[in-house]
Subunit: 260 residues, 2 copies
């Protein structure tokens, strides 16, 4: 029941990242739409790992050609005017520098394709969650916008979302805290994703999960979760039961006690 | 954290209706925006009651001038080509005819103002939830679109939403059933509204609640709930606690048991 017509692209994606005291929890769906009648499964989670040295993870939403171009640029590296040198995801000195590099890649993609896309009425639409840590530097989680500017998750609001973010936000608003234990947070992002999958059929399984423990500079857990995953099904069912029980447990208002 | 720029108007409203076996539960916020820096409280819930004879309730979202024009037209009545006669909310022979009347009023409003609004780049944007019963006829809940066409709530999906609907949808998806008791459903719509208020600050208290018991053809309960309403605050707090407890109670996945 999608009541309003919204632009395609972003709505077919849901990615969420949590930056917690203990580490990072990142989750993305895999459904992409490269034109009408062309719905495919692509990974939206791009990981660069140099165990013990760095871990960087990008999750992308928006136009597939733009996001693939940006991912390729920062994976292969290019000369960055901002950073005054040639850098890639594997060589930047910090996550802040990585966010600058990603932002510059988006601006280069816009310079290359923005005008031609506009001529075809195709919005230049990309947003990226970027998370990770370079050894000795801070662990960070950024959201980079279509203009290449970016914001960062904070202790007050430890999560960032891209794509179809609204259905999965209420649980995060109420339960995601900076001090949430890392492996409890897995449940939170899975519930958030399940709420999205139920409400928007164009966001699709399988989903990709990555857990990172602060200062480890290596992946702690990475897993692709398919539709037949018993744990994901259990979460979905258990969550529905818990919500029903929770609202039934709330007393009726005094001003409606006459209701039967 | 509203991540995407969306058109104004509809996003500043949230209205929800449930058509249940026992009756109707209708809830709307009251915040409206008639231009920049002009945010006011208007009722979005318009009720026509002829006790024992009929109850009709309209809730509106979208451009305020359009929705007020439509509301005025159907309250005062006009000659309907579809119904072949002069009718108002108080005189239509059935709720289906009422939905036709509302749809025709929207098309007349579009004919009067649509072109001039488009010339000013203002979208002709209205959506209406219409619910009620005429004595001896069926109790119904419709959603009428900007084009005047409409859909109806079903036993499988007993709720309809207009405006900023996404944040409040997961709880309805999981817990709203056709056989939900009428006075339990009050809690459901209040939780749905609370989730929306938390995530979109432009949807605002107070909120208007109406409960209708099937075949009564009169209001069962009508209440305006303000920000200091102790019951609404209790629901909000109790719901947050319940969600946190519910996700903590879910076991961690076996494939993540090594996590501390």
């Amino acid at each position: 029941m999608h009541r309003r017509q919204e632009p395609p692209g972003n709505d077919m994606t849901y990615c969420v990242g949590l930056r917690l005291a203990e580490g990072l929890v990142l989750l993305s769906d895999t459904r992409t739409n490269a034109g009408v009648d062309n719905i495919s499964t692509f990974s939206k989670m791009h990981v660069v790992e140099r165990p013990g040295e760095r871990l960087a993870c990008m999750m992308t939403a928006g136009n597939l050609s733009v996001s693939q171009m940006v991912v390729n640029m920062v994976q292969e590296g290019f000369h960055s005017e901002t950073l005054d040198g040639s850098y890639s995801l594997a060589t930047t000195p910090s996550m802040f520098a990585t966010a600058q590099l990603v932002g510059e890649a988006i601006r280069k993609a816009f310079a290359a394709h923005g005008e031609a896309m506009r001529a075809q009425s195709i919005p230049f639409d990309v947003s990226i969650l970027l998370a990770g840590q370079v050894k000795g530097r801070r662990m960070r989680l950024f959201q980079v916008y279509s203009a290449g500017n970016f914001i960062e998750a904070t202790e007050e609001t430890p999560f960032l979302q891209i794509g179809e973010h609204k259905y999965g936000k209420p649980i995060l608003d109420r339960a995601a805290r900076y001090d949430t234990p890392l492996y409890d947070a897995i449940k939170l992002v899975l519930v958030s994703m399940d709420s999205t999958l139920r409400s928007n059929l164009s966001v699709g399984l399988p989903i990709d999960l990555l857990v990172y423990r602060k200062d480890a500079c290596r992946v702690d857990l990475r897993r692709r979760i398919h539709g037949d995953d018993p744990y994901f099904r259990q979460i979905s069912e258990q969550w529905s039961s818990a919500l029903r029980e929770a609202y039934l447990a709330i007393p009726r208002p005094e001003w409606a006690r006459n209701g039967h």
